[in-house]
């Protein structure tokens, strides 16, 4: 089956996005996690640019620029500063049982592919077969959030989920209206600030950013 070149490039970028989601699932070091997140943002920018160039939708150029500034430059910079301030820069997490996590990840990917199949057949965009991958990225990011026990990686999982959502929007409907995009970007920024404040509070209270300590707060 010979698809046009553009579709193939988008498929390749989608596959790289999925690969990065898997890599984030099994990554132990916080520093590498932030770098992977930045790389994921870069891939997202590239794919948005390709779709924009091939379909001539100009607002996608703005969307790509926004993604680049936010996800590749600003947020990683904030995160790097945060982990330096919180003294968790060289933290290595004890992830329990990486093979099991990956197996669950693969099951999620199969699920996402199957759920997205009828929807993608209805879509009329150039990147419709990548809807399944976008959904899989969202689910994998969710799994990353669940399997982590430290606070900063959980937040990175949350941000990666948003990456997946933007990719889904680009592939299914040529992006969202600009207003919605700006709104989401603002939400993410505000969320980061609030979470940053929370991190400092947690560390003050428990002397560590291990969220399992939060269990002590429940009533006995």
């Amino acid at each position: 089956m010979h698809l046009p070149m553009i579709s193939q490039i988008i498929n390749l970028l989608a596959a790289i996005l999925l690969l990065l989601s898997f890599a984030m699932l099994t990554q132990r070091r916080i520093l590498s996690l932030i770098n992977l997140f930045a790389l994921q943002g870069f891939t997202l920018t590239l794919s948005t640019l390709v779709v924009a160039w091939s379909t001539g939708q100009h607002h996608l150029y703005y969307s790509a620029a926004l993604t680049f500034v936010l996800k590749v430059l600003l947020l990683p910079w904030i995160l790097h500063r945060l982990i330096r301030k919180l003294n968790v820069k060289w933290d290595v997490e004890t992830l329990i049982n990486i093979p099991t996590t990956m197996l669950v990840g693969i099951a999620l990917v199969i699920l996402a592919f199957n759920v997205a199949l009828p929807i993608s057949q209805l879509a009329g965009t150039i990147a419709k077969s990548t809807l399944g991958i976008a959904l899989a990225c969202v689910l994998l990011a969710f799994l990353t959030m669940i399997t982590r026990s430290k606070a900063v990686p959980q937040v990175i999982g949350f941000l990666a989920m948003e990456n997946g959502l933007v990719f889904a929007a680009t592939s299914a409907t040529y992006g969202m209206p600009m207003v919605v995009e700006f709104g989401i970007a603002l939400d993410v920024m505000v969320g980061m600030v609030i979470l940053g404040v929370f991190f400092f509070q947690i560390r003050e209270r428990f002397e560590s950013l291990d969220i399992r300590h939060l269990e002590k707060l429940k009533e006995e």
Binding site: M1, H2, L3, M5, Q8, I9, N11, L12, A14, A15, I16, L18, L19, F22, T26, I98, P99, M102, L103, G105, I106, V109, I110, F113, S129, T130, G132, I133
Partner: protein, 316 residues
Amino acid sequence: MISWAGLVAQLTEIVLAVLLAPVLLGWVNQCRAWLQNKSGPGILQPYRTLRKLFAKEAVLAHTASPLFRATPYVLFACMCLAAAIVPTLGTDLPFSPAADAIALVGIFALARVFISLAAMDIGTAFGTLGARREMMVGFLAEPALLMVLFTASLISHSTSLATIVERLAHMKFVIYPSLAFAGVAFTMVSLAENARIPVDNPSTHLELTMIHEAMVLEYSGRHLALIEWSAALKLFVYSCIGIALFFPFGIAEGGDALGLLLALPALAAKLAVGGFAMAVIETLSAKMRIFRAPEFLGTAFLLAVLAMLIHLLLEG
């Protein structure tokens, strides 16, 4: 069915592989030395090692059985057969109907089982340690390699290596994302199977850190020479499999002599680049704890499964 040109090409490929495999090993070691700012022993060092070992007397332990003595030959024969069926220069190979991709993995498994049994034959703690670790690496690496080959088979609708290469080479402007995943998985598997950092350190002398070396601890003289040569051949064959699957441009189709002659420098260039890349990976990584190796290989295995899934979704 068997053309003279094909037969000549086949024999040339086998002889070339057997004679030039130590050069690839020497090149990888030399690149590693350069990256570590050392001057290195030269590309032809493995040949000098082989000559030295063949001339030496073979010393066997009292407890060695005939299985121990036969294993180096079986290993060498397996690697020669593997070199015969992987298309390195051309795809017109009379031997290729003898074994396909699945049988190729079977050949590697046969070699692995024999060397593990030979390691257990002497009955010391080191041999059994090496055998256990080698089988532990093997039981995940073999399925991962098979899954990578399956992805290529699904794309080209065949498991015969010659056909796979022919069909993949003709799809010049089609980018397959599943092959990207499969490529990552294949790199991880070949690092593990060829006993490279980050899975195993080929130049260690501490027995407790050995995987592959612990199995050949008792071999000496011509037996050790054959085993070293087989290891070099294995690295050569793995590199050629990688080139055939992921960079098949330049491999001659059919048995024309000009195509084969042009394929030779193409192969040399690709192997040089591949060897250098392997040296870079080895220099940048650290050897991981032995019990991280199943995780590493499990990741490779699951990536290969993912490659198949992506093929079925995106390219089916």
